[in-house]
């Protein structure tokens, strides 16, 4: 492994080696390396194959901006090798090449030529015969796409979290401007979060000789109390919310002011073979050398349109790279960079551009075209390109900023900012180091000032800063704008590296009529790949302008949308979270062989393997069901009775303590909301049960009206705190008698009595209600005693034939009794009349109650539909002429060999055959 001599600011720790594998082969890197730098240092130049043509691709930006180094790491595809740090033992595998990265049979798609693969080729070429499309699709799916997901769900799972962070100021971007902004805002007293996509804050300073200054700024920011998030790209700008992805955490940052210091993106140049490994952006070459002490090449040609490339040439020579030629597209210019190069005796060929790069697996030579010397060829193993700096305005656009074409610099620059959004540094046009620092300080101070912090002095300073920035902005830009169409040359010239879209493809798409940038984008998929337009937006717009004869301003840019940075879906999804409620007795149900099902949020016992037998036991002996899922509210206070009178169509204020009444809650539209029983415990206290699924909604409903009426009542939701079981059947009384001192005789404990007593030593509230139509005791108790009580009841009932029963037998039993299940037998249009419960509505109640006016009207005419019981004979429903009346519940054969269901006949009356025939007068129930 060859490394450059030790240098200041390098990120690697030369003492600590890290071993990992690439395509099964052992690679040694250093602590602090990225996968990319370690592989490059070990001699590898090709990192992946391209999307469509399977062309070899190598490191280009070394900053996570381009798609050229995507690899698969420990099973996760689409990881950028150039930014992913090395970890001991990690398994790195190439993507999109078979059988191997260096020999890929699919490369044929590139060699055969583009005649077969124009944009949309799969729609054009593979469309006939139609019936073969499924086959084509299979083949195409195999050929397209990058990386492979692991097959099993378990292997793809990883734990991710959300974090919500409210702050005064968020600074996006940790370069010079971002750090300065964060420091300025924090020093004025603002709570500041700074997020940066790099491994450490500093931005361009780190690799361009300013690492000392960068670290100094970062230290000052930390001192000022700024929360610094590294390896944390901002994904988008939503209504006041910026999601920041950092490994397993998605920070949802909500800031009162956001400062975007997102910098610029160095642009590639268009020429034939511009994707060959060895073609590198100047920033990428500098990062390799400065941060990882890896020499990016031995002999380099530098092609630039601005000083950024020239400065890179000097730095690279200092790193031991031979500079074979410097081709500057500008014909004139006299900036400092030219002088520096002159002093370093590096000749600059002005008015020169790259026509083509040649080589098989990596660059071997380039063809240059010079105004003065004509065409010439230069051998090299590195071509450093610098196609100018495009402001990274994407997040700003999402936040509501407007961009406009800047003729002078040949890029789309910020034109207009919304009030609560600030921009600083290069993205705002303040490129030079001092400018960026000043611009950051001003933006940070402005953000704090907007929040009422700072004083006259800080305001004055910001004012002066703004004036100075305006002066600086008037300096001329020394940039050449690359021509839209590439110079002629053999071989493919890629406008879009992610999706393998060539300049010719864009030309074709315009010829076919896709002549707006948004249409061309969708047709060719330019800007839609992993780089999200960083590398391809500007070239595509330039070419579109050329092809259609418009100005760049007229063409405009495509709409920028989140996510700005590639992000795994899992990070967005957050922790997989499916809340499940289990009763305190749940463990016993499982032990006793219950089939468990979802019932709303609850996990409940569907049956214990024999629904028919379980139901039969309830009829003939006794059954025990866990009804802990019922909603339970304690309604307490001097006005408790009045509240219930107002909420229910029947009366509760006249209920005697120790007695129970059934109630249906209706809405003001007269529709059923929920039902349940209410037991009055004492003058001021009612115990209200609701349906299992309605517990939350009923609590909200009660408290809502209470908030409006402001009665002297307090509501307590005890659904989770109390468990409940229902013991029912002809032998239930005997079983109860064994476990409680309470006199359970029918005289002492009558139907609809509610009593408090100990059951098996557990303090309980016992409600005598007809839950499943047999003599029944619903026992409510502190949930912690659930298993004890369940065991005690089953043991006491063993000799009487007591069996636990599940949800399904309960439904059968209730069905036979015409006890409706709200939400199953009723829907959002059901009224108490339609549900065959006219008796529940007490319209003679003098006082108003919710639903009164609507129910008065419903009472006047027969309901359009009604729930009725009926019997099936010979498997056919005798429902009159209208055979298609919908069954609300499928008839199921029950223990009593009756087929019954609740049916909703039409207005003109399907024949109601029979009401529930078991115990029609409720004698057994009340006995």
């Amino acid at each position: 492994v060859s490394r450059l001599p030790r240098r200041d600011g390098e990120r690697i720790d030369r003492e600590r080696e890290v071993f990992f594998t690439f395509d099964g082969k052992r690679v040694v890197g250093l602590e602090g390396d990225t996968i990319g730098s370690a592989l490059f240092a070990s001699g590898r130049r090709t990192f992946s194959r391209s999307f469509k043509y399977h062309r070899p691709r190598g490191l280009m930006c070394c900053a996570g901006q381009c798609p050229n180094c995507l690899v698969q790491v420990d099973g996760a595809p689409g990881v950028r090798a150039c930014t992913e740090p090395v970890r001991e033992g990690m398994k790195v595998v190439h993507m999109n090449a078979s059988p191997s990265l260096d020999f890929d049979v699919m490369r044929a798609t590139d060699k055969v030529g583009t005649a077969f693969t124009p944009p949309g080729f799969y729609y054009k070429t593979f469309i006939r015969p139609r019936r073969l499309w499924p086959l084509y699709e299979k083949v195409l799916r195999h050929a397209a796409g990058l990386g492979k997901l692991r097959k099993s769900q378990r292997e793809r799972e990883w734990r991710t979290e959300y974090r919500r962070r409210h702050t005064d100021v968020l600074v996006v971007g940790g370069g010079t401007a971002g750090l300065s902004a964060a420091i300025a805002a924090a020093e004025l007293g603002a709570d500041v979060v700074l997020c940066d996509e790099g491994a450490e804050p500093g931005g361009r300073l780190l690799a361009e000789g300013g690492h000392g200054h960068a670290r100094e700024l970062a230290a000052r920011a930390r001192e000022a109390g700024v929360e610094m998030l590294s390896n944390a790209p901002a994904l988008g700008a939503f209504d006041g919310l910026v999601p920041v992805w950092q490994g397993d955490t998605l920070h949802q940052v909500r800031a009162r002011r956001v400062v975007y210091a997102t910098g610029t993106i160095e642009q590639p140049l268009l020429f034939a073979g511009n994707d060959l490994p060895g073609v590198m952006l100047s920033g990428g070459a500098l990062r390799l050398a400065a941060l990882y002490a890896v020499r990016p090449g031995t002999r380099a040609v530098v092609a630039a349109v601005c000083d950024r490339g020239l400065e890179a040439a000097i730095a690279l020579r200092a790193a031991g790279v031979e500079i074979a030629a410097v081709a500057d597209m500008r014909a004139g210019g006299s900036s400092q960079a030219f002088k520096t190069l002159e002093r370093a005796s590096i000749g600059v060929m002005r008015g020169t551009r790259v026509v083509a790069a040649h080589g098989r697996m990596q660059i071997e030579r380039v063809t240059l075209d010079s105004d003065r010397f004509g065409e010439l060829q230069v051998a090299c193993d590195l071509l450093v390109v610098s196609g100018g700096s495009a402001p990274a305005t994407s997040l700003l656009s999402q936040a509501g900023a407007r961009t406009a074409y800047d003729e002078e610099r040949g890029v789309f620059a910020l034109a207009d900012l919304p009030e609560d959004v600030l921009a600083a540094g290069e993205v705002a046009g303040a490129g030079a180091l001092e400018d960026a620092e000043l611009s950051g300080r001003v933006a940070g101070a402005e953000a704090a000032h907007a929040l009422g912090m700072g004083d006259d002095r800080s305001r004055d300073r910001a004012e002066h800063g703004l004036e100075r920035l305006a002066q600086l902005a008037r300096r001329p830009a020394e940039v050449a704008v690359p021509p839209p169409a590439p110079p002629k040359g053999d071989g493919k010239c890629f406008a879009c590296l992610c999706e393998d879209v060539t300049v010719k493809d864009i030309h074709l798409s315009v010829a076919e009529g896709y002549d707006s940038i948004e249409l061309s984008k969708r047709y060719t998929t330019t800007t839609m790949g992993p780089c999200q337009g960083r590398m391809c937006q500007l070239p595509a717009v330039r070419q579109m302008a050329e092809e259609t004869g418009q100005t760049l301003a007229q063409v405009g840019t495509t709409t920028s949308r989140p996510p700005w940075h590639s992000v795994p879906m899992g990070a967005l999804a957050g922790r997989p979270f499916e809340p499940a409620k289990r009763s305190a007795i749940h463990g016993r149900h499982r032990e006793q062989g219950a089939t468990v099902m979802w019932a709303g949020d609850w996990r409940r016992a569907y049956d214990y393997g024999d629904p028919r037998g379980e139901a039969l036991a309830v009829h003939e002996a006794a059954g025990l069901i866990d009804v802990s899922t019922l909603g339970k509210l304690i309604v307490r206070g001097p006005d408790a009775g009045e509240l219930l009178d107002r909420l229910y169509p029947n009366r509760f204020s006249n209920l005697k303590p120790g007695r129970i009444r059934y109630g249906v809650i209706a809405s003001d539209a007269g529709r059923i909301v929920d039902d349940g029983t209410i037991c009055r415990l004492d003058d001021d206290t009612f115990y209200v049960t609701t349906t299992s699924s309605g517990a939350g909604a009923v609590y909200e409903w009660f408290s809502w009206w209470l908030a409006d009426w402001r009665l002297d009542v307090h509501l307590t939701d005890v659904t989770q705190g109390l468990g409940a079981v229902n013991l029912a059947g002809p032998r239930a009384r005997e079983i109860m008698g064994k476990l409680t001192e309470l006199d359970c005789s029918s005289e002492a404990f009558t139907y609809l009595d509610g009593k408090q007593a100990e059951v098996a030593g557990v303090p309980s509230l016992i409600l005598r209600i007809g839950f499943v139509g047999e003599v029944g005791y619903e026992i409510h108790f502190p949930a912690a005693h659930g298993e004890h009580l369940w065991d005690a009841l089953l043991e006491a009932g063993q000799e009487h034939g007591l069996r636990p029963f599940g949800l399904e037998p309960q439904r059968l039993l209730r069905l036979q009794k015409m006890h409706i299940l709200v939400g199953q037998d009723t829907d959002s249009e059901s009224t108490p009349f339609g549900a065959a419960m006219p008796w529940i509505v007490k319209l003679d109640k003098e006082d108003d109650f919710i639903g009164k006016w609507a129910l008065e009207r419903f009472a006047e005419e027969p309901p359009e539909t009604a729930l009725v019981g009926f019997t099936l004979t010979n498997g056919r429903a005798r429902t009159g002429r209208r055979k298609r009346d919908h069954l609300r519940q499928r008839p199921s054969p029950t223990c009593a060999s009756r087929n019954q269901a609740l049916l909703r006949p039409g207005r003109r009356g399907a024949a109601v055959v029979s009401l529930a025939e078991l115990d029609p007068h409720r004698e057994a129930l009340a006995s």
Binding site: L241, S667, W704, A707, D708, A854
Partner: protein, 82 residues
Amino acid sequence: VSYVLTCPNCGPREVTDFGFGGEVNPRPRSAPSQRELNTYNYFRKNVAGVQREWWFHRSGCGAWFLAERDTRTNDVLKTELP
């Protein structure tokens, strides 16, 4: 759509903490006509502008409160207990 509501009890929280109760829709004081009843039950103003509405702090203190929100911008101008 994502914004912050200030619960009168708990302070500013993400909107996902809350349940929406809809625009304030006063219940008729005395027996309404059929038309009034239907209007109350089934019609809402749905203004494009500042709306008074009910919110429930479902993942918090469990209080119902009133908010004034601009439905165009989701700016919450005011929250208060009834």
